[in-house]
């Protein structure tokens, strides 16, 4: 071990010691470790992320709506029941039902035009499970970023919180603001994939916010709530506020900001 106190004091902001990219779920998931530079070798990195990779690949195999024979598609076509599906399916169904209740029905995978579609929950859920599967021995922290849904454990360096930027929907090369992350943050909006947000009350594309972010201890639920908040718009902050541990932030189509009382803005 070679301690690097001089470097730490000269550049205290972060000590990212690895940046791993995993192409899965039709996108890229990045896994970053933080800590002392020589905490592990490149070979050991692959051992550390092996279980997380398996978790992500498994989630993709079970829940991909692009794979014809995935269990979720078999379920959608009525070829199997939830009881016959892999055990993760029952878990996701239950959690989606909870998210639907918590969001006043603004998140509703059962109301999607093509049939049951839990995509708004699964990406965050899978990233959360991947983080939980990482080996954290000897590192100060880790971040999993599943195409913009971010979950962290630990810290970038001693005494510091992870800071995560939220993209400005009107200029994606700028950050609108940053949050101090304890747990996860999911952001939803139409600026990235056009009209993919469906209003469950009408079955039509709708987004009453340019960007909606939700923070909280579980990234799966945060992901579902961010989807709901993007569809509902600023009025949706009313269903976020009473959910213990979760906070919401909305950027309106007019550029205005609205957020719940304890949204964890980072002062930079």
């Amino acid at each position: 071990m070679t301690p690097v106190p001089a470097a730490a004091s000269a550049a205290p902001e972060q000590a990212r010691l690895s940046h791993h990219r995993e192409q899965v779920m039709g996108t890229v998931v990045t896994i970053d470790f933080f800590g002392e530079a020589d905490a592990f070798t490149r070979t050991e990195l692959y051992v550390r992320v092996a279980r997380a990779r398996a978790v992500l690949r498994r989630a993709d195999a079970v829940f991909s709506t692009y794979k014809e024979h995935s269990p979720i598609n078999q379920l959608r076509r009525g070829e199997i029941t939830a009881a016959q599906a892999p055990p993760e399916v029952a878990e996701v169904l239950e959690r989606c039902a909870r998210a639907r209740t918590l969001s006043d029905g603004w998140f509703d995978p059962w109301a999607m035009p093509g049939g049951f579609d839990p995509t708004g929950y699964v990406k965050g859920w899978a990233a959360q499970r991947a983080l939980n599967a990482l080996s954290m021995t000897g590192v100060t922290g880790a971040i999993v970023n599943a195409a913009g849904d971010v979950v962290a454990s630990g810290s970038p360096s001693l005494g510091r919180a992870f800071r995560v930027a939220i993209v400005d929907p009107s200029d994606r090369l700028r950050m609108a603001c940053a949050v101090e992350l304890a747990g996860g943050i999911a952001t939803s909006g139409t600026y990235e994939r056009g009209g993919h947000l469906i209003d469950p009350r009408t079955g039509q594309p709708a987004a009453r916010a340019a960007s909606a972010s939700v923070t909280g201890p579980d990234l799966g639920l945060a992901d579902a709530l961010a989807t709901a908040l993007a569809v509902a718009g600023p009025a949706g902050l009313d269903f976020i506020e009473p959910i213990e541990g979760y906070e919401g932030f909305v950027i309106g189509h007019d550029g205005s900001w609205q957020f719940t009382a304890n949204f964890p803005f980072a002062l930079t």
Partner: protein, 164 residues
């Protein structure tokens, strides 16, 4: 078969974006922006010297030195094989600030699935680019989608421009 789009088109579009960025008045109520977005060049100064270099080549034959902090430079990343074809990403820097990320060229053989991915890919690249500009943040949250090939090409463009 679709032909690959041409690098020059993307670069010109990128520069147009950069130039209008400095002259266009800000009309949206964006709240207090933080981070590198506020560190752009002075908006009222004389027009910036603009140089463009494509590919991994060095400085173009202009009189102004390329190290001028306000110079605008574009680099095109390596052509990378990805699931559906070959892609190359271009990044544009104005001074020390990254101002544009575009798909410089792509040859996907007309694959429909690929085309939907192409349209969705740039936001994630922009997130990577945004993160590369700030030592004070560890990650970026935003709705997005990309492929590893796109990121790899962007990384090579950023490296040429002196990021990371």
């Amino acid at each position: 078969m679709r032909r690959a789009r041409v690098v020059v088109i993307a670069t010109i579009a990128g520069l147009a974006g950069v130039l209008s960025f400095h002259t266009k008045p800000v009309s949206l109520n964006l709240g207090p922006a933080v981070g590198p977005a506020t560190a752009g060049g002075p908006p009222t100064s004389a027009p910036n010297p603009t140089t463009t270099s494509a590919g991994s080549s060095g400085t173009p034959g202009t009189t102004s030195p390329p190290t001028t902090p306000t110079a605008t430079r574009t680099a095109t990343g390596d052509a990378i094989n990805y699931n559906y074809g070959v892609v190359s990403i271009a990044a544009t820097v104005s001074g020390t600030k990254l101002t544009n990320v575009t798909v410089a060229s792509i040859d996907d053989g007309g694959n429909f699935r690929s085309q939907s991915i192409d349209q969705q890919a740039v936001p994630v690249l922009e997130q990577e680019a945004l993160q590369a500009q700030s030592a004070n943040i560890q990650s970026v949250s935003g709705a997005s989608y990309t492929s590893a090939g796109f990121e790899q090409s962007l990384q090579s463009a950023l490296t040429q421009l002196g990021f990371k």
